[in-house]
């Protein structure tokens, strides 16, 4: 449980996804066999089960931040400019971070835009810096924030769709809670 709370949603692990896919294949295969009743029921039970506290989310928890504030903001192609939607999410984040002052944040920038890997690293950093500047202007002490760019590092991106949906997902900044600086 502690591990879950520390890092409830780490970046996708390819192996875990593969295992999930295999389990699904197994479940589907079982549907066609004789044991129809048992195999799918496990999946049915898992789907819909609350992760964490359900609707009774403790205020100030990681889950509270995920469910009631939101960690991600998105950008237009090639841009590190914050739009109104991004600013609204950042204001909500700033308000929450001021209320729960124990937390530090790692602001992760991503970019999968046209251009080289190096340009995307730079763009990811500009996006993260834009978010930090705005959070600071909203009252979050800079000492509680750090930025990091992941650019277009494959393992951190949404790659399993090849259309503009995935690229929209990858033009983002992710605010990750940390208990202390640099942890």
């Amino acid at each position: 449980m502690t591990a879950l709370l520390r890092d409830p949603f780490p970046a996708i692990r390819p192996l875990a996804r593969l295992a999930g896919a295999l389990a699904l294949v197994a479940a589907l295969a079982a549907c066609m066999g004789t044991e129809v009743a048992e195999a799918p029921s496990a999946a049915v039970e898992a789907t819909g089960a609350p992760v964490g506290a359900g609707i009774a989310v403790p205020p100030g928890s990681y889950e509270d931040f995920i469910v009631n504030v939101g960690r991600r903001i998105y950008f237009a192609e090639g841009s590190a400019e914050l739009d109104d939607v991004a600013k609204t999410t950042l204001r909500n984040q700033a308000e929450w971070l001021q209320r729960y002052a124990d937390y530090h944040v790692k602001i992760q920038g991503f970019a999968d835009d046209p251009g080289s890997a190096e340009q995307n690293r730079a763009l990811g950093l500009r996006r993260a810096e834009a978010a930090r500047t705005y959070l600071a202007a909203m009252g979050v002490p800079t000492s509680r924030m750090r930025t990091k760019t992941y650019g277009s590092a494959k393992e951190r991106l949404t790659n399993d769709c090849d259309d503009r949906s995935c690229r929209a997902q990858n033009r983002r900044v992710h605010t990750v809670l940390e208990r202390e600086a640099g942890v």
Binding site: I12, G20, A21, L24, G48, I55, I66, V67, R164
Partner: protein, 212 residues
């Protein structure tokens, strides 16, 4: 239970109130709790204690094959999922209207708007000639504070995920509209889904399409 007779009759006449709401909770005022400001408008907050727990926004296990950041609409179970990594998702309760039954498949959010105006589609005007030809955005607009417009191959599918002025209709099939969410929830979703977000609408297999 007190029954607001005027709104009950009006609702019956318009065919808008879900059956369950009439039977169990005619006092629609109870579904509201104070107000909130949003982008220059004031809307009525939902009294969440009257919303069934399973229709409240929450983090759930969700076995899916969609990439993270996708929307899956399960009209049969009155749920909308925003997928996250590791087979988890944020789940919201929804109400489903007739227009919400008529389309399923893949789409993307092609456009989204705050406090959208509403032009009732021709089919709806045929059923409801009393409706205005255009209704400006605002707290009385049935689309509520936000609308997400679904497109496929650059074409508007006339399928929308929007708010509601009738929080009691969450978790039910109603007579008009597409996918309706609590105003707080549709505002929340709007923050989380960029234009281009992938959407999967599951077929509506409900055996009792009572409101159609």
């Amino acid at each position: 239970m007190t029954i607001d007779r005027r709104s009950l009759l009006a609702g019956l006449a318009a065919g808008l109130l879900p059956v369950r709401a009439i039977a169990q909770e005619a006092d629609t005022e109870a579904y509201f709790n104070g107000t909130a400001d949003d982008n220059g408008y004031v809307y009525r907050r939902t009294n969440m204690s009257l919303i069934e727990p399973r229709y409240r926004r929450q983090l759930v296990k969700y076995i899916h094959t969609e990439p993270p950041g996708s929307v899956v609409v399960d009209t049969r179970n009155h749920a909308l999922y925003l997928t996250f990594e590791n087979n988890t998702a944020l789940r919201y309760g929804v109400g489903v209207g007739r227009e919400g039954f008529q389309w399923f498949g893949r789409a993307e959010i092609g456009r989204k708007a705050a406090w959208p105006g509403w032009t009732p589609p021709p089919e709806m005007l045929k059923r409801r000639p009393d409706l205005p030809r255009f209704m400006a955005g605002g707290p009385d607009n049935p689309l509520g504070p936000r609308a997400h417009y679904l497109y496929r191959d650059g074409r508007d599918l006339v399928y929308r995920i929007h708010g509601t002025t009738e929080p009691w209709s969450i978790g039910t099939d109603v007579s008009s509209g597409c996918i309706r969410m609590l105003n707080e929830d549709v505002i929340d979703l709007y923050q989380r889904v960029p234009v281009g977000t992938r959407v999967l609408v599951l077929p509506h297999l409900s055996p009792d399409r009572r409101a159609v």
